[in-house]
Symmetry: C2
Subunit: 529 residues, 2 copies
């Protein structure tokens, strides 16, 4: 950037402010006001701190990227900028541009401090945005600026910037209302997940990409397709290349992919290829705990997956293990007897051994809460416990020093179609945890899209708009959320976000239908349905 451009000074200032905000994360921060100039702030999820004005600025359809900082020139930033420019402007906007029209915002400066593109849990996603007219009376300097420490912060900022851009049907310009804007933002939780179940129904790669795209709109981050669990036909499988493709596609949107193999209780289909994994032909689940071969296969699968999934966490399942037929299969029963093991002991043995294998591959194991509920005293201290059975689990988990992810099925299982968006919105990962150090052990939460009745035809409208409610809960400051009137301000923002998803081609369902993914009840606007 030429040194005589005053934006640079402001730029440095904003970055410092953003860094300070990061430092201040553990202190109470003022709740963002929900309205400005009488109009709600139509941003989803709500940023940490927002100030705005009363001017309307036009945005040039030829909006140029002005990349700054070590990371600003990375291809990922340029690609994300192009993607968002495509979302903000109609395909004909460039051609319709008036030859000599003057626009208020002609370039977007994106300053990224670091060129490191590692996407690890807890990566710095903070950003600051400043939008003002050049030479305007209400600003020292003009233009639109996004500043971030990492390219992933810049990507979050681009999403927010795109939500500030509104099409004016009368002038056919894209405008930013209520400028100047000054936004400082960062997520409340690092882990803001969406589980995608690709085992009950095969989801084609393009559909997984549609889901990943839409996740980035709501600033959701990790997911874990059960990519290798079963296969209904020879055409419904994923290749290693497909998995690489998905991981790369997600990374460009700042989204990690966490994989899961759910052992020993949900791996029956493996035995189709390796019948020796089954205790017997009439006992096909759980996997044979007594056989070394079982763990050889698990280690082989984990080793293969390690090459594909760079994310530091790996989900080993461990839920819903019904060990009855271990008892009734002679060689398994004999193996347990020799070791004076009950079936519960054998279950523990299995889970801990699988954890060891994952840790050996430099993975942090994630396990469903049944493992914690059954033998917390033996669980590897590295374990991240994944809640699902009900409320109040994370408090117990973090009290014992384990990390926790909340997915309480009562509010965050998206296949529970009778859970309205307000209930999803009410899910609070820190409920019942007052100790600051214990709060830090809650990584965040995850909404779960189990696939019994969700396939390509309906998965997106089962996910949206309810997943957006969890996304705001996980991103925005607690004070900001609690201070609002859910049925008024929040609902109108959520309607608007649902329409934004629709506008971007995402099949988000009506917001207020009592059952999720029901069709609209009659003609009407997406802004009120």
């Amino acid at each position: 950037m030429p040194p005589n451009r005053p934006a640079y000074l402001l730029s440095a200032l904003l970055l410092a402010a953003a860094a300070a905000a990061v430092g201040a994360r553990r202190h109470a921060s003022p709740a963002a006001n929900a309205t400005f100039a009488g109009e709600p702030v139509y941003l989803w999820p709500l940023p940490k701190s927002v100030s705005s004005g009363s001017r309307t600025l036009t945005v040039d359809p030829d909006l140029a990227l002005d990349p700054q900082g070590l990371g600003g020139r990375s291809p990922a930033v340029a690609e994300a900028f192009q993607r968002y420019r495509g979302l903000v402007f109609a395909p004909w906007a460039h051609a319709a541009r008036a030859g000599r029209a003057r626009y208020d915002v002609t370039r977007l400066t994106v300053v990224v401090a670091s060129a490191n593109d590692t996407l690890a849990l807890g990566v710095d996603e903070s950003y600051a945005i400043y939008v003002a007219a050049a030479g305007g009376v209400d600003s020292i300097v003009g233009g639109a600026i996004i500043e971030a420490n990492t390219i992933y912060g810049a990507i979050r900022g681009l999403e927010t910037f795109s939500q500030l851009c509104v099409f004016n049907y009368d002038t056919k310009n894209v405008e930013v209302h209520n400028a100047p804007w000054h936004i400082q933002d960062e997520p409340r939780f690092a882990f803001r997940g969406l589980l995608l179940d690709t085992s009950r129904h095969y989801l084609p790669v393009d559909v997984i990409k549609q889901v990943i795209d839409s996740m980035s709109f709501a600033k959701l981050v990790p997911t874990y397709p059960n990519l290798w669990k079963g296969s209904y036909s020879k055409w419904e499988r994923y290749t290693v290349e497909d998995a690489h493709d998905i991981v790369n596609y997600a990374k460009k949107r700042g989204i990690n992919v966490m994989a899961e193999i759910d052992v020993p209780g949900h791996a029956e289909s493996w035995g189709n290829g390796y019948p020796k994994l089954w205790p017997s032909p009439i006992c096909t689940e759980p996997l044979d705990v007594s056989s070394d071969f079982t763990f050889e296969v698990i280690f082989g699968i984990l080793s293969d997956m390690r090459k594909i999934f760079p994310f530091g966490l790996f989900h080993l399942g461990g839920d819903e293990v019904y060990t009855g037929c271990w008892n009734t299969t002679p060689h398994v029963r004999q193996w347990m007897d020799e070791r004076k093991m009950t079936t519960k002991d054998a279950y523990k043995y299995f889970v801990l051994k699988a954890q060891e294998l994952a840790i050996k591959l430099n993975w942090t194991p994630v396990n469903w809460e049944e493992t914690f509920n059954s033998f917390e005293e033996n669980l590897n201290p590295l374990t991240v416990v994944h809640n699902w059975l009900g409320p109040g689990v994370c408090p117990k988990v973090v009290a014992k020093g384990f990390r926790c992810i909340m997915s309480n099925q009562g509010v965050w299982y998206l296949d529970h179609l009778d859970v309205p968006w307000e209930d999803v919105y009410s899910g609070e990962p820190l409920a019942g945890i007052s100790d600051r150090e214990q709060q830090k052990l809650v990584l965040g939460g995850e909404v779960c899209m189990w696939g019994e009745t969700a396939d390509t035809s309906d998965v997106l409208q089962t996910i949206w708009p309810r997943a957006a409610a969890a996304a705001e809960r996980l991103w925005s400051q607690l004070e900001a959320i609690s201070a609002q009137d859910v049925e008024t301000t929040v609902l109108s923002r959520l309607h608007r976000f649902r329409c934004l998803l629709n506008h971007r081609g995402v099949a988000a369902a009506p917001v207020t239908n009592y059952y999720a993914r029901r069709p609209p009840v009659g003609p009407g606007s997406c802004f009120v349905q």
Copy 2:
């Protein structure tokens, strides 16, 4: 093409054969066999004539286009080729390509006789495909060839070629099974429509494009979004540029866009902008028949639309006109009395006057069947009558010399969710018409996606897979369809086509659920749900 390549000779031969087939259209043609080598022909809709063999050919991920003929080098052909290559090969296929691997099919020759890209009703969509290994024992010459008289025939051929290409999960190659293939094809009806109702719910431009894309997969052709009918909010409108964008997008896929303004019965919302169009504030429908201003506005709208929609047909509606309040509005009543008109006369006057305006703009008017049912003796001879109320209408229409489009609501209204795919498949536009000359007056049919309960969230799974059943009825030879066992051969092909739609990211619903667009009932493969 170098003259020493023998493919050229074959090419000329196939083209002649295709031309002959076009000429033979009115004669009975042998039904295409539904199975080859024990395996169903997995093509949808079924081509007119198919022969295949027993070889498996591999297709090069770097498949090259070899354009031939006057029209072969048109950008539309190159663009369509790129599009289909993207659908056939995974994004990683090129990188995974084995360096020196030899593929059987390395180039696709596309011969297009004419460079004329006019997309009119009845444009020549015939094509021929030949796929064989170079130097194979079962062929004189090798390669893959598509021949067509127009670029739109070539686009249909590319769709069929893409359906011959199957991914092999073991070798990771794309293969063509049962080669050599020789296919000659052309549609049975020129008008194979899908109505998209954008008035009950606004469908964003990107969603309309998704629908257009998916239509091209099933070789459906015209559609008519009611782009200008009402607006629920200032963000739910289409600009003129949007309409141009949609028309161009559709044209590249060989799809015409027919627009509709439905007067006088379904235009109440116009009065929000022009209250004078309403007979009175308490009589807001139908439009004021007594006022010249009404027809000035209609002509203004038609003139604007003429610049946007090059298609030769324009839909003027004319259905569901309830004229009661014309009688009770004094100035309208007086106007009718002065002319000794009944309300029925006034309705006729309105429709005929609107037809005149459309004809003046060089449009062929399409009107719903109520107009024919009410005053067939006065209807302009150019009128295309659009059936919807029930069966048996087209026979009466063509007996009077009018042209007809079938949309019998009992089988082809997609918003009737209780109509299973077999019933859609049973819809026959020529039912009850035995006279050859009268048969020619049936342009085809149209499935109607009325939008009371269909918005962005569910429109694609309400359309698919049932629209595919109508698509085959309208494209494939009658004999081929009737000869098949609907519940076996056809169903397995339709399952496969639904999975193809899913694979291409289209949210087609399960085929066999009793109610359309219901979710799958449980885990399973898309090939059986």
